[in-house]
């Protein structure tokens, strides 16, 4: 049964990208097939920020290409990593003395393409450094980085490294600033109701009516415990408690908090979840320095959200709040 407004399933990725760059043509364009770049490129004395990932998660990841954030997003097919060939092509396009920071979400396909493309890039004289994100905590609070997936925590990271690059920081400096944030960001996802793969119609995961799963991955793959649906307040409390524990937050700490709807959960619900989460943080004496509610990285029509909590320092706060960004899905006016 057809449940989506699509045309030929083979054309989904190219058609969605064509629509996106047409809508925001003063900000983004297609640099090549499945490679989204800024409409006005940054001067090449500055480090370029490149990322990669499958489509089907809109507005991620191409929604964050723009002045102050990403220079380039390399897009794979639905839920699939782009091949090393396309990524290598993008790295060649952004070759510069200042270097390229390649932000890779920890998913095996993305990691593999990134490993291959960077090996080839180094041999082709392209300066590139990989930063791997692994903000998901559903594998356990003590799980090694390799076992932790990259979820929507990459998005504030793009903002931070993007702003640092715009400021003219060196590749090593940007990597250090980004890695410092990377170690201090934790994400937890909750899902209720599954979604279908837009190309083959397969149902991804099977949650019974009224059941939720905390720790669900980006493609609906299970990770944590299942339980019956509880109230927004109870869900938010459970989730923020785990994130606070992971980050060892104490009174006086400063954080950034983002609630990312994954597709079928309304902004009404996201607001209610944010309310309780913020209350708990404030009661614990923790100050929220930057926050946002919205659909940033979605999983088709899956219901649920990702809660992204990061302990931030002065550098991160400055890059998140005071530096401008005109990326279509993360606009910040900033301060002069």
């Amino acid at each position: 049964m057809k449940t989506k407004f699509i045309n030929e399933t083979d054309n989904i990725t190219s058609e969605l990208l064509e629509g996106y760059v047409a809508a925001y043509r003063d900000k983004v364009k297609l640099g090549a097939e499945n490679i989204v770049v800024r409409a006005q490129p940054k001067c090449d004395s500055k480090v370029a920020i490149v990322t990669l990932g499958g489509s089907g998660h809109e507005p991620a990841l191409s929604g964050f290409v723009g002045e102050g954030m990403l220079d380039c997003s390399v897009v794979g097919d639905i839920f699939a990593a782009p091949g090393a060939q396309r990524l290598f092509q993008a790295l060649q396009m952004f070759k510069r003395d200042a270097g390229i920071l390649l932000v890779v979400l920890n998913h095996s396909g993305d990691i593999m393409s990134a490993n291959m493309a960077t090996q080839l890039a180094e041999r082709a004289g392209i300066k590139v450094k990989k930063l791997i994100t692994h903000d998901d905590i559903s594998a356990g609070l003590d799980a090694p980085d390799d076992d932790r997936r990259g979820l929507a925590g990459c998005i504030p990271l793009y903002k931070i490294v993007g702003a640092a690059a715009e400021e003219g920081k060196s590749l090593d400096e940007i990597y250090e600033i980004g890695e410092r944030f990377n170690r201090q960001v934790a994400t937890l996802a909750v899902a209720m109701r599954s979604c279908t793969h837009p190309q083959n119609g397969a149902v991804i995961s099977s949650l019974a009516e009224g059941e939720i799963e905390i720790g669900m991955g980006q493609h609906g793959e299970g990770g944590g415990g299942r339980q019956m649906l509880v109230s927004a307040d109870d869900t938010a409390s459970q989730m923020v408690a785990l994130l606070m524990k992971k980050l060892s937050l104490t009174s006086g700490d400063k954080v950034a908090l983002y609630i990312n709807g994954v597709g079928a959960t309304t902004h009404m619900e996201l607001n209610i979840v944010f309310r309780k989460t913020a209350q708990i943080l404030q009661d614990a004496g923790i100050e929220i320095m930057d926050s946002r509610i919205g659909e940033m990285l979605t999983v088709q029509e899956q219901a649920g959200f990702q809660m992204i909590l990061a302990k931030v320092d002065a550098d991160h706060i400055g890059y998140l709040k005071n530096s401008m960004s005109d990326a279509p899905y993360w606009t910040v006016i900033g301060k002069k």
Partner: protein, 204 residues
């Protein structure tokens, strides 16, 4: 046979592709036990682009580098990453159009070192490393001036390494989730890599 020439090496690669093609189904079936069942296809695709890139080669360093690039740019997946890494590493450690026994040893040592940068899998984890690592170590230990004998040592060690994976529990990648259920089957990657080394030895 004192030297390994470019022509010998191309013959070895073509022989490996032929053998792997003949056993493609076997490798895929082994992979289906604890993986997604596409290893036969993956290794044939990878070796096809290896052989294709090798055809134009006239010097080891450049040819091995071109092979590495071709594998990685034409195909995707973990098999291609590792085969590509092997050839790029070999390229770093080889030059000229004819290699002595000790130069061949160096070349494979360089290849293994680069593969080890790409995977954390160790001997005993039930992966292709169970064939590759013993093969390169056996070459290193092989006291001979004869290239044919050198690859004989490597093939023997790789075949034994692959056979040993039957009793191993998968300890790496997706297969790890199968735990005890992975025991009793040879690892598909170890088998295909052993098959390559066996073909190298047999064609010389």
């Amino acid at each position: 046979m004192e030297n390994l020439t470019i022509q010998d090496f191309k013959k070895m690669l073509s022989a490996a592709l032929e053998q792997v093609k003949q056993r493609e189904d076997e490798f895929s079936k082994l992979d289906a036990v604890i993986g997604d069942g596409d290893h036969g296809t993956a290794i044939v695709q990878a070796l096809t682009s290896v052989v294709e890139a090798a055809e134009k080669g006239s010097e080891f360093k450049t040819m091995l580098n071109d092979i590495g690039f071709n594998v990685m740019l034409q195909t995707s997946g973990s098999t291609s990453t590792l085969i590509g890494a092997l050839f790029l590493g070999m390229s770093d450690a080889a030059q000229g159009d004819s290699l002595t026994v000790s130069q061949v040893k160096e070349m494979f040592k360089g290849g293994l070192a680069n593969v080890q940068k790409q995977t954390k899998a160790q001997v005993g984890d039930k992966t292709m490393m169970d064939a590759l690592v013993p093969a390169v170590q056996a070459m290193e230990a092989c006291d001979t001036e004869d290239v044919r004998q050198l690859f004989g040592c490597a093939a023997q060690a790789a075949l034994k390494g692959a056979a040993d994976t039957v009793n191993m529990k998968a300890n790496f990648g997706r297969a790890r989730n199968y735990g005890e259920r992975s025991i009793g089957y040879t690892d598909s990657g170890a088998s295909s890599w052993a098959c390559m080394f066996e073909s190298f030895a047999n064609v010389l």
